[in-house]
């Protein structure tokens, strides 16, 4: 089946078998390898992408269902001039170690901050609880999300 969708602002299409997941479509057909395959059953969150504003496990979504929708992956966050505040803060605070959870973690954080740029620590933990990390103990990740939220809410206030 042919799947046509908008990925990071670009219209893309691919001819895939119907059982293809959105994750496979992104990684194998659209060469977007930022979303990772960590468990393939929705437990680890490394495959997280945003579909129409909501974070989802792309390993649990069939590609056909993403047809006609807007998908944002980690590759769609930065512009050619600047990093997304989350990317900036994750780098600055050393929030990622092996980095494998990073794309999913940042996408989950973006989905949170887009709705709630000034979350509490609990809200951040809650929003990230579907993204497992084995390296960091989540501490610096949570700090980076809170910091990025502050940048996003002040820049929004200014504009």
């Amino acid at each position: 089946m042919i799947v046509k969708l908008k990925v990071n602002g670009e219209i893309r299409s691919a001819d895939v078998p119907p059982e293809t997941t959105l994750l496979k479509l992104l990684r194998e057909h659209l060469s977007l390898t930022g979303a990772k395959l960590g468990c393939d059953v929705g437990d680890c969150g490394t495959c997280t992408v945003i579909v129409d504003g909501e974070s989802v496990n792309s390993c649990l979504m069939l590609a056909g269902r993403a047809s006609g929708r807007e998908v944002t992956t980690i590759e769609g966050l930065a512009s050619s001039e600047q990093l997304h505040p989350l990317q900036e803060k994750f780098e600055e605070l050393g929030a990622l170690q092996c980095g494998f959870c990073g794309p999913g973690m940042i996408i989950s954080a973006k989905a949170l901050l887009d709705k709630n740029p000034e979350p509490t620590v609990f809200e951040v933990k809650d929003a990230l609880s579907g993204n497992l990390c084995r390296c960091t103990g989540y501490t610096k990740i949570i700090e980076a999300v809170l910091d990025a939220g502050r940048i996003m809410s002040t820049s929004e206030a200014k504009s």
């Binding site: 969708l5 219209i11 390898t33 395959l37 069939l62 590759e75 990622l96 494998f100």
Partner: protein
């Protein structure tokens, strides 16, 4: 799989430019001409920031002591870090491994003919085809693919390379392996008995032992005001790197093999590959990339020789990535310990003597057990001045998942025991746990259980600093 998906869609993308792309029936050509031509996937590079200024902290001198950001940190955040599974090569195919369902069995036969006839399958591989079918960091007791005996439910017995991962997985189900089940042993305390089933017959299940003796422990226990005894046990734990093990092997026309691998130690990895493939080291190139989490679980080869042989058979790059299930059942794990502690103390809390017996569940193969045994044994008495000490540690085979290196090599296990024991004694003697530790802890120049003079010792400083930060005195009940 002949799945048909009928999408009933309500597009949330409002842009008129893709209005005609949302047609539910994807087999139909859009009825009206598209406003813009459909963009066929062209691997157009994503736009990334190209020349951002470096963080100021990376430009400072002196370099040591700076909270310098990692050069890979930005790539992680952009999703640009290339892990092995993100790599593709022209004509690359995929390998999957069939694993034993038996914990202990003799392999009577392996028939791969039906699997080879499956669609997309280019090659199969069994252990008989691997030039030197054994490996291991200390004892080479582990087959790359088991061809005689399986020793735990998870041993690989055959591999398939196919055009897609799904085809490879489907073909695995067509491999016929005949087993003759053998008696099993799962409990290390059972395995240590003489009449237990032998995991590596005819060898004893006890495959490594270590002893540390210092002073006269029996005399010290007699002279103690109080003697405490307790047994502690720990469980088997998985490393859970978020990135499953992954490798790609390419055998070239010169007979040189290039292997990209998630291994955490490439020098010794190449040694293992040279040995198992029977090739000179100069004919092997092993390349690591950033590993997506290791914690000790990626410190030995796994599928690399299998992929290399499949590449040799097919002339194609072959990728093999563990499923999460493979990660659990076939990679190494943390050793369960059974730990018996007997400690004699004076009323004032001074430890006079300690006797320790450690039994390590070594699982089905040695892997890094010798190191775990050694470190566990040496560290078992804790960071304390104990003049009279006896430690015996034994590692035993069981028909369970292989235990190997994992963050701490036995130290978390023995620390659980010696520190729980320490608190029990402190409570019994009516001494504050902090004080109990300070009375016994190493000083600069203390002599370790193995007789080593210790330098740059900071145990008391760490205790006091932690107590102060925590508010230990203030929070006393």
């Amino acid at each position: 799989m002949a799945t048909k998906t009928k999408e009933v869609l309500e597009s949330k993308v409002k842009d008129s430019e893709i209005e005609d792309l949302t047609a539910p029936d994807n087999l139909k050509v859009p009825a009206k001409p598209a406003l813009k031509p459909v963009v066929v996937p062209v691997d157009k590079p994503v736009v990334y920031p190209l020349d951002l200024p470096e963080s100021e902290i990376r430009l400072r001198t002196p370099a040591v002591g700076q909270r310098a950001t990692r050069p890979d940190g930005r790539l992680h955040g952009l999703g640009q870090t290339q892990y092995i599974d993100d790599m593709t090569f022209p004509h690359m195919i995929f390998a999957k491994i069939l694993r034993s369902e038996h914990a202990h069995a003799k392999i009577l036969s392996i028939d791969t003919s039906e699997a080879e006839a499956m669609p997309g399958v280019l090659a199969t591989l069994t252990g008989d085809e691997i030039p030197v079918n054994s490996f291991g960091p200390t004892l080479q007791d582990q087959p790359v693919l088991a061809n005689e005996i399986v020793r735990h439910a998870g041993d690989g017995v055959a591999a398939v390379a196919a055009l897609t991962e799904q085809q490879a997985s489907d073909a695995l189900t067509k491999i016929k392996v005949k087993y003759k089940p053998l008696p099993t042993v799962f409990d290390p305390l059972e395995a240590i008995k003489d009449d237990a089933p032998k995991v590596h017959a005819p060898h004893s299940n006890i495959y490594a032992s270590k002893t540390i003796k210092k002073g006269d422990v029996e005399k010290a226990l007699k002279e103690s005001d109080q003697v405490f005894h307790k047994q502690f046990k720990t469980q088997m734990v998985e490393h859970v790197p978020l990135e499953p093990h992954s490798s790609v092997a390419m055998w070239d026309a010169n007979g040189r093999v290039i292997i990209y691998s998630s291994l955490g130690r490439i020098t010794l990895g190449r040694d293992d590959l040279a040995r198992t493939l029977g090739k000179p080291m100069s004919k092997i190139r092993l390349v690591g990339t950033i590993v997506g989490g290791n914690f000790g679980g990626k410190n030995e080869i796994t599928t690399e020789p299998i992929l290399a042989m499949l590449s040799k058979k097919t002339g194609r790059p072959v990728k093999g990535t563990f499923t999460r299930g493979d990660e659990f059942i076939s990679s190494t794990t943390r050793h369960p310990f059974v730990m018996d502690y007997t400690t004699g103390v004076k009323k004032d809390g001074q430890i006079l003597g300690r006797k320790i017996r450690l039994v390590l569940d070594g699982g089905s193969y040695c892997s890094w057990t010798s190191t775990t045994l050694g470190k566990g044994g040496i560290l078992a008495a804790g960071p304390y001045n104990i003049a009279n000490l006896f430690v015996e540690a034994h590692a035993v085979y069981t028909n369970k998942t292989t235990t190997g290196a994992m963050r701490g090599f036995g130290a978390p296990q023995v620390c659980f025991a010696y520190e729980s024991h320490m608190d029990d004694m402190a409570h019994a003697l009516g001494i504050d746990p902090l004080e109990m530790r300070l009375r016994n802890a190493f000083n600069e120049g203390s002599v370790s259980p193995t007789g080593q003079l210790l330098q740059s010792v900071a145990i008391k400083e760490s205790l006091q600093q932690a107590a102060e930060r925590f508010g230990w005195k203030e929070s006393a009940k």
